[in-house]
């Protein structure tokens, strides 16, 4: 059988004027020009880009041995005839048939920012090129080039940087937090082009991080982003019930990335100093959110069993980040706090016995609050052992 095949190959080689025993015969190896598909790609300006191309290479006949190789040692970025960058990734496939074959080489090409900048500065065409050869004909055959265009914000969506941090402590990359603490992460993403970002927040909690980490999806993320820029994506509240190590990942499905960024955090079964193990939530019944705080205004709240004293505090209201809000808005993020303020330092307050759940604001406190300004009011409840056993969320009011 082998003899028959060899004879057949020999006959074909002879018919084409080449000898299969000779090195680098003119007609063996790659036939015609390899073709890229697609043959053009857009790259967003000013950041690293990438595109996917499939090279189609025809090889006849497959040659010296059934294990002959079809390969391309490197790719080149060519600007107006000058090579301005190379990609040293060898594309290679082993020929396994003796008949005419078509080989396809999928390639994800990362384009450095420096190549894109050079192309934008010049009016010359930018191409990505490869040549293919076979082991028995190492004379390379140039493939048709992939034409590259540098675009602005309208091109295909590409991510160029992802940074994960915790929301609080601000910007931290590792957090050790108490059980049931409120914790969120932020993915800051720099992107080029426009399109729909498809991603997921996934987590492995201590029920698996002690063995093989198993990641479950916390939330599916879909976000339209446009015209190149930066977007911040907040995670849902992260689980903090179980003591131990948690691993959070931001998995991007489209546009695909090689490896997802991750954060680790540790949850402690512990007490916050000055707070009892279980701090009850106090509901502030009046004044209403963003309501008025007149002279003699009445404050009432829900009782905490076991409280020996309450402290009502007035906190300054700090302006939130105007530009931040605007940039969030640009990318369609729902603003969480449309009031644009956050609680700051304590300005005034008063104590009350633990059997009280409503009172008029005393003159000593109300006169410390400037009229026509916003403040936050918060109620804290103390237990007999000097620990806080209840607290309300700070609620914004307007002093009149």
């Amino acid at each position: 059988m082998t003899v028959t095949l060899r004879t057949l190959v020999l006959l074909i080689a002879l018919a084409t004027g080449a000898s299969w025993l000779a090195v680098a015969p003119a007609k063996a190896g790659v036939q015609g020009q390899p073709i890229p598909s697609p043959n053009r790609a857009n790259l967003p300006f000013n950041q690293p880009g990438s595109f996917t191309v499939v090279w189609r290479v025809q090889d006849t006949p497959v040659t010296a041995t059934p294990s002959g190789e079809v390969f391309s040692p490197q790719g080149r970025f060519v600007l107006g005839g000058t090579v301005i960058g190379t990609v040293n990734r060898r594309l290679s496939q082993i020929a396994t048939t003796l008949s005419t074959a078509v080989f396809t080489f999928p390639e994800v090409v990362n384009v450095p920012r420096s190549v894109i900048i050079q192309a934008a500065k010049s009016n010359a065409p930018l191409t990505y090129e490869r040549s293919f050869a076979t082991t028995d004909n190492i004379q390379p055959t140039a493939a048709l080039p992939v034409s590259l265009a540098v675009t602005g914000g309208g091109g295909e969506l590409l991510l160029s940087r992802i940074e994960l941090t915790f929301e609080a402590p601000p910007d931290a990359r590792f957090a050790s937090v108490e059980q049931d603490a409120r914790l969120r992460a932020i993915a800051r993403i720099r992107f080029g082009g426009s399109g729909l970002l498809q991603a997921r927040w996934v987590i492995a909690d201590p029920t698996s991080t002690t063995g093989r980490a198993v990641f479950r999806t916390l939330q599916i993320v879909r976000r339209n982003v446009a015209a190149a820029g930066e977007v911040e994506i907040y995670s849902p509240p992260l689980p903090t019930r179980l003591q131990g190590l948690h691993e959070l990942r931001f998995e991007v499905d489209d546009p695909a990335i090689d490896s997802p960024p991750r954060l680790l955090y540790q949850v402690q079964l512990r007490q916050e100093p000055g707070f009892s193990p279980e701090v009850a939530t106090i509901s502030l019944l009046s004044p209403r959110p963003r309501g008025l705080l007149d002279d003699g205004a009445r404050i009432s709240w829900s009782a905490v069993p076991g409280a020996v004293a309450y402290k009502v505090v007035f906190l300054e209201s700090l302006a939130d980040d105007i530009v931040d809000l605007e940039e969030r808005a640009r990318y369609g993020e729902l603003a969480e706090d449309p009031g644009e303020t956050r609680p700051g330092e304590t300005v005034a307050g008063f104590y009350l016995p633990g059997d009280t759940t409503e009172t008029d604001v005393p003159g000593t406190s109300i006169t410390r609050l400037a009229r026509d300004r916003r403040y936050y009011v918060q109620v804290l409840g103390w237990g007999p052992d000097g620990l806080v056993i209840g607290r309300s969320e700070p609620q914004e009011v307007l002093r009149r």
């Binding site: 990609v87 914000g153 990359r173 198993v214 700090l318 449309p338 005034a348």
Partner: protein, 709 residues
């Protein structure tokens, strides 16, 4: 990039309430009922004598020395002698203030003394105590004013140390498909903080760490390593304020050159105590770091930025209304690709990517007309070499500026007894094509943007609107098209919150809130290079509607987002997507909680006829079987995707049963046994047939120690 507003909206102390003399009379603004109520408590607590004209008009309370001698300790009671002859009419009108807190209601009688015991320890430092009497004519007389010092001990005004450390030992009882997981695993994590304060000086340090007997689960590849840390040495006097910081911090610069730059490094700031001047010098790592390697963050000159930041409030009368800032930096960055949390996608050559640059930014921020008008301007110049010395691209110098005006057209105007606010603003920003900074890695240059924005809030109603115009190719490069981008964004939210005197909502409605948002971005290529092949124009639309409501023991939410990208040149980039989210939380009695949730998405490429359905469903549950002793937590999730991106259907079930046999308290360890585990089962879709099953069961001894001094 984010630049924060620097002025506070509600931090001014009224001039009329700054008692500095021992006895002072001033008109009372209004005598509130609260004062009577509180002062009645004082009257009941102290004995009342027969009225005596002299004593009622010119009496002096006396603060008694502390039990500790020259200073008070945090838990010392405060005793004030009140003349026993004072009539009840006077006692009824007394009020006691500690710092800015009215503490009248906490006063107890002990002989002729008013004794104050707070429910919390007094913070170390200087405190002010003030006793006032409300007169019949509406006046307020300051009867006593004292300052006193609270110290932790004789050596230091304050010494505080606390640490929270956990250590877990775990054994795998049984499991399958664990990919060589160790049978015995040890983990530890925690944080600690020490503060020392004496007089004008204070020092603090804080740090966290993680240990895992498997290095692949660690922070840096080492089994045990430091996380983040910060050490601060501060000096604060009446005139001067200075801080030296080593560790992870952000020096507070927020401009084009440096923004949200939280890094490990060293900084020193010095300034006047009244905030008129502050100068900060800094040297910080260019990349975010964890671990003991490069402990100071500034050892590597190839991966470091250094410079100075200046903050001035030059005009006394405008101290809270005008601020000037300036930042200068010089630095280099080497991307080493070894961080899991910061990923740069510029690894085409598989070599280290270097960049370097320098630059400055100056900005003025101001508030005018009763803080109704905010004006901010910034100018910046950068030199940036994106591929470092010797790279293919030469360094470029470029400029950026921005101007912002924001006016409060309505500021706390009462409409139906509720404050109405309306802000209107405009911002114009120009960033040169090659503007860039090592200290602001998210900034993208090359845009001229003009944005109009408006915010309205009234009661619990809020509405934001924004419209913007943007162009690129600022430096008119030959090989780059010019895009014109228009965007419009609308967002509204409303929460229904009836006051105690208003008619309650129907029970079935709970306390609801709802939100609506809409955005559209239209991109048009207005100018193209000759023979350009990269035509790309699109219209992107997103809208979201959300609703949530809460009841006594449960709550739920629903949101729907519709997104579309329309390729206006007729290419194959048209997509349409829907995302629906539904979830709720239940409390069953005091001990059981349940939180089910689901998300469903449909993403369709309309030209290629590709459709992807994704479905996620899950729940979390917790139960206190025996409070503080035996508890359990469970979670389950199922994910499913079909269409162009076929993935496996995956069920994950995890749970833990925790038996706490020693409850942790301050300086006393807590110990618990935990039986926990996970099952993951994956099934192939129509195309994929892979099956994967992982299960693992662990027994852990969990210890924790909250320590404090």
């Amino acid at each position: 990039m984010a630049r924060r507003a620097n002025f506070k909206t509600g931090n001014r102390e009224p001039e009329t309430l700054r008692p500095r003399r021992k006895t002072r009379r001033y008109a009372r603004q209004r005598r509130g009922g609260a004062a009577i109520l509180l002062a009645t408590g004082l009257a009941l607590a102290l004995p009342a004598g027969a009225p005596a004209q002299d004593q009622t008009q010119d009496w002096q309370p006396v603060l008694q020395p502390s039990q500790s001698g020259d200073y008070w300790t945090p838990n010392d009671p405060i005793a004030i002698f009140i003349p026993p002859e004072l009539p009840i009419e006077v006692l009824q009108n007394l009020a006691l203030e500690l710092d800015n807190f009215d503490v009248t209601s906490l006063i107890q009688r002990e002989g002729d003394f008013a004794l104050l015991r707070l429910p919390e320890p007094l913070a170390p430092g200087e405190h002010q105590l003030r006793l006032v009497e409300y007169g019949q004519d509406g006046s307020i007389t300051e009867r006593g004013f004292w300052t006193f010092e609270v110290r932790k001990n004789a050596a230091f005004q304050n010494v505080e140390a606390n640490a929270n450390v956990a250590f877990d030992g775990t054994r795998i009882l049984t499991g399958d498909n664990l990919q060589g997981a160790d049978d015995n695993i040890f983990q530890s994590g925690g944080e600690g903080r020490i503060v020392v304060q004496e007089g004008n000086w204070s020092a603090s340090t804080q740090a966290n760490y993680l240990y895992d007997s498997r290095d692949e689960q660690s922070l840096t590849g080492r089994e045990a390593d430091l996380g983040e840390y910060l050490t601060t040495l501060s000096f604060q006097s009446d005139d001067l304020s200075s801080n030296a910081r080593l560790g992870h911090h952000d020096i507070g610069a927020n401009d084009f050159i440096m923004s949200d730059f939280y890094r490990r490094g060293l900084s020193l700031d010095i300034g006047s105590a009244d905030s008129a001047v502050q100068v900060t010098g800094f040297a910080l790592s260019s990349q975010a770091l964890l671990g003991v390697e490069r402990i100071s963050g500034i050892e590597d000159p190839d991966d470091r930025v250094q410079g100075a930041h200046v903050r001035l409030r030059p005009i006394d009368s405008l101290r809270d209304n005008l601020e000037l800032t300036g930042t200068y930096y010089l630095g280099e960055k080497t991307d080493t690709f070894d961080n899991d949390f910061d990923i740069e996608f510029d690894d085409a050559f598989d070599v280290e990517e270097r960049s370097d640059g320098s630059g400055f930014a100056v900005a003025a921020d101001s508030l005018w007309f009763g803080e109704r008008l905010r004006l901010r301007g910034e100018f910046s110049r950068s030199r940036f070499d994106l591929d470092g010395a010797g790279g293919a691209v030469d360094p470029e110098t470029d400029e950026a500026y921005s101007a912002l005006a924001n006016y409060a057209i309505l500021q706390n105007e009462l409409v139906d007894e509720l404050p109405l606010n309306w802000n209107l603003g405009i911002q114009h920003e120009r960033l040169g094509t090659f503007f860039g900074s090592v200290a602001n890695p998210f900034l993208i240059g090359d845009r001229i943007t003009t944005t109009l924005f408006s915010d309205v809030t009234w009661d619990t109603f809020a509405f934001q609107a924004q419209a913007g115009h943007q162009t690129n190719n600022v430096n008119s490069l030959d090989g780059l098209p010019r895009d014109r981008t228009l965007n419009l964004f609308l967002n509204g939210s409303y929460a229904i919150f009836p006051g105690p005197e208003e008619e309650p909502l129907p029970e079935w409605l709970g306390l609801p809130s709802l939100g609506l948002s809409f955005s559209i971005v239209d991109i048009d290529q207005t100018d193209r290079p000759d023979d350009f092949i990269g035509e790309a124009e699109s219209q992107t639309i997103s809208s979201t509607a959300s609703f949530s409501t809460s009841y006594d023991t449960w709550s739920w939410y629903l949101s729907e987002t519709v997104s579309s990208v329309n390729d206006t040149l007729g290419g194959d980039g048209d997509t349409l997507g829907f995302l629906t989210s539904l979830g709720s939380q239940f409390l069953v009695g005091d001990r059981v909680s349940l939180a089910p949730y689901t998300q469903w998405s449909l993403d369709e490429n309309q030209n290629l006829n590709d459709t992807v359905h994704t479905w996620l469903v899950g729940f979390g549950a917790g139960a206190e079987i025996l409070p503080s002793v035996l508890s359990t937590n469970l979670n389950y999730s199922y994910s499913h995707a079909r269409g162009a991106q076929n993935t496996l259907d995956t069920h994950i079930f995890g749970g833990e049963l925790l038996w706490t046999f020693l409850q942790a308290e301050q300086n006393q360890p807590g110990m618990a046994f935990a039986l926990s585990g996970t099952i993951q089962e994956s099934h192939g879709s129509a195309i994929l047939s892979t099956q994967d099953r992982v299960y693992q069961v662990f027994l852990s001894l969990k210890t924790t120690l909250p320590a404090s001094y």
